[in-house]
């Protein structure tokens, strides 16, 4: 009886420790978003830290968990910029797709594959943003075509720069987070 209650207490402690680590890592990502450190930007574009976090979270989890993480982090990024167009769409997609990839089965576990996933997901989430911006313009604007082509030209530049710089920085976040979750037995090795 005593041992069960102690065990229960330990599990509870571990749960809150895990929640703490998760919250602090997200907070770290949020706080580093407005910073532009030398060497951390490409054509004025900084790594998409929240996207890297969602990828790191979803790689070894199920699509539902990935989607929830995408939703939450997307809402947070909306709060830090502007509510429309929402960042949630791209990040939810990222979470689901990353989880669906079944990395253990098809791709080897290393930094390169995480960087590759981040590259692809950055392109997808920027595309989701560009589509929302275009849609918004079609609804609101009087003259669509010149500005629409501008959006997609800009999208090309942003998607490529963001994909390159985010995939380069992905291991920085993925490695410690994944190690922690593996050690806690939340995700399998």
């Amino acid at each position: 009886m005593v041992s069960t209650s102690r065990h229960l207490q330990q599990t509870k402690q571990r749960l809150w420790l895990n929640v703490g680590v998760t919250v602090i890592s997200v907070l770290f990502c949020l706080l580093i978003l407005p910073v532009r450190l030398p060497g951390m930007e490409l054509l004025g574009i900084a790594p998409n830290w929240l996207l890297i976090w969602v990828v790191a979270w979803s790689v070894k989890r199920d699509p539902f968990e990935g989607a929830i993480a995408g939703l939450v982090l997307g809402l947070l990024q909306d709060g830090m910029t502007a509510p429309l167009p929402t960042h949630s769409a791209g990040l939810i997609l990222t979470g689901i797709l990353t989880a669906r990839l079944q990395k253990q089965r098809y791709i080897q576990e290393d930094f390169v594959s995480v960087a590759l996933i981040t590259f692809g997901m950055a392109v997808i989430s920027e595309t989701a943003m560009a589509m929302q911006v275009s849609l918004q313009m079609m609804i609101e604007s009087r003259q669509i075509l010149p500005s629409l082509s501008g959006v997609w030209l800009y999208h090309q530049r942003v998607a490529l720069s963001s994909a390159i710089i985010s995939s380069l920085w992905a291991p920085v976040l993925y490695y410690p987070l994944n190690r922690w979750w593996e050690k806690q037995g939340i995700v399998e090795d």
Binding site: L15, L30, P34, N48, G79, M80, M129, V133, S147, G150
Partner: protein
């Protein structure tokens, strides 16, 4: 009933955590990330730049003074013929450091290290060395967020200082800023000084904005000119925040400006 209770027994904690996470994220979204920006300000406070200003900013300042003189000369001429000229006196301005850039790739924003405690409020106009920079769109006690004029969502009514031709300026994605004119054949040439117009709802009139870089008169539906902003929007360190009351509701659709000289 039993199934629901069993489900609750199994997933109560998980559901609770998900609800908590979504709830907190929603709250932060609704409060425009106030908590995060306050923490950001608190952490970066020791790292914020001192009063060192590179030559670029000094040059921009000289450029601003030149533009102001051109604008004043032109204004003086037109003033002689006006009787009911009403001066809009600018209030006390606050100097604030830029402590962060935009938190994603689709918005051109900066974060300032002063907020409502320094009497900054939403709608106040931000200018840097060189001229107009943007306007405040969100404040927390110690930070404020500025939408730059280079953002596609900010539209500014502008006047060509030399010929008083009206137009409106909007940012294009990727650091280009263009002006669309209301007249079919505007009197504009490269090098002309651009200032905010008196029709602008969100900005006070006669703040220097930049110079015309190139003009494209054949552009449809309206002639267009590309502007070189005189303030280094990409490398801002210090800015001045000027109190300003927007004339109408900010979130409404942009008004159709009436070109000057037409009945």
């Amino acid at each position: 009933m039993f199934a629901i209770r069993r489900w609750w027994g199994l997933y109560a904690r998980r559901a609770g955590l998900i609800a908590l996470a979504v709830g907190v994220a929603w709250a932060i979204r609704v409060t425009q990330g106030a908590v995060i920006y306050e923490i950001y300000q608190w952490i970066t406070y020791p790292l914020q730049a001192g009063l060192t200003q590179p030559e670029q900013i000094e040059n921009a300042y000289v450029l601003e003074l030149q533009e102001r003189i051109v604008e004043l000369e032109n204004q003086n001429q037109s003033l002689k013929s006006l009787v009911d000229y009403k001066a809009n006196l600018p209030g006390e301005s606050v100097t604030a450091a830029v402590i962060g850039r935009s938190a994603d790739h689709w918005w051109h924003q900066v974060t300032l290290g002063k907020g409502s405690r320094s009497d900054i409020a939403v709608g106040h106009v931000v200018s840097g060395y060189g001229g107009l920079v943007g306007r405040v769109i969100a404040v927390t006690p110690n930070t404020s967020r500025v939408l730059l004029v280079s953002d596609p969502n900010s539209q500014v009514g502008v006047t060509i200082s030399r010929s008083r031709v009206m137009g409106y300026m909007r940012g294009q994605r990727g650091n280009r800023v263009t002006v669309e004119f209301f007249e079919k054949n505007p009197d504009v040439k490269a090098g002309d000084v651009v200032v905010t117009s008196s029709y602008s709802r969100l900005y006070p009139s006669d703040i220097p904005v930049g110079r015309i870089e190139s003009v494209n008169l054949s552009k449809s539906p309206a002639p267009e000119a590309t502007i070189q902003l005189s303030s280094p929007v990409g490398a801002l360190e210090w800015v001045m925040v000027q109190p300003f009351e927007p004339l109408e509701d900010v979130d409404g659709p942009p008004v159709e400006l009436v070109p000057e000289g037409e009945p």
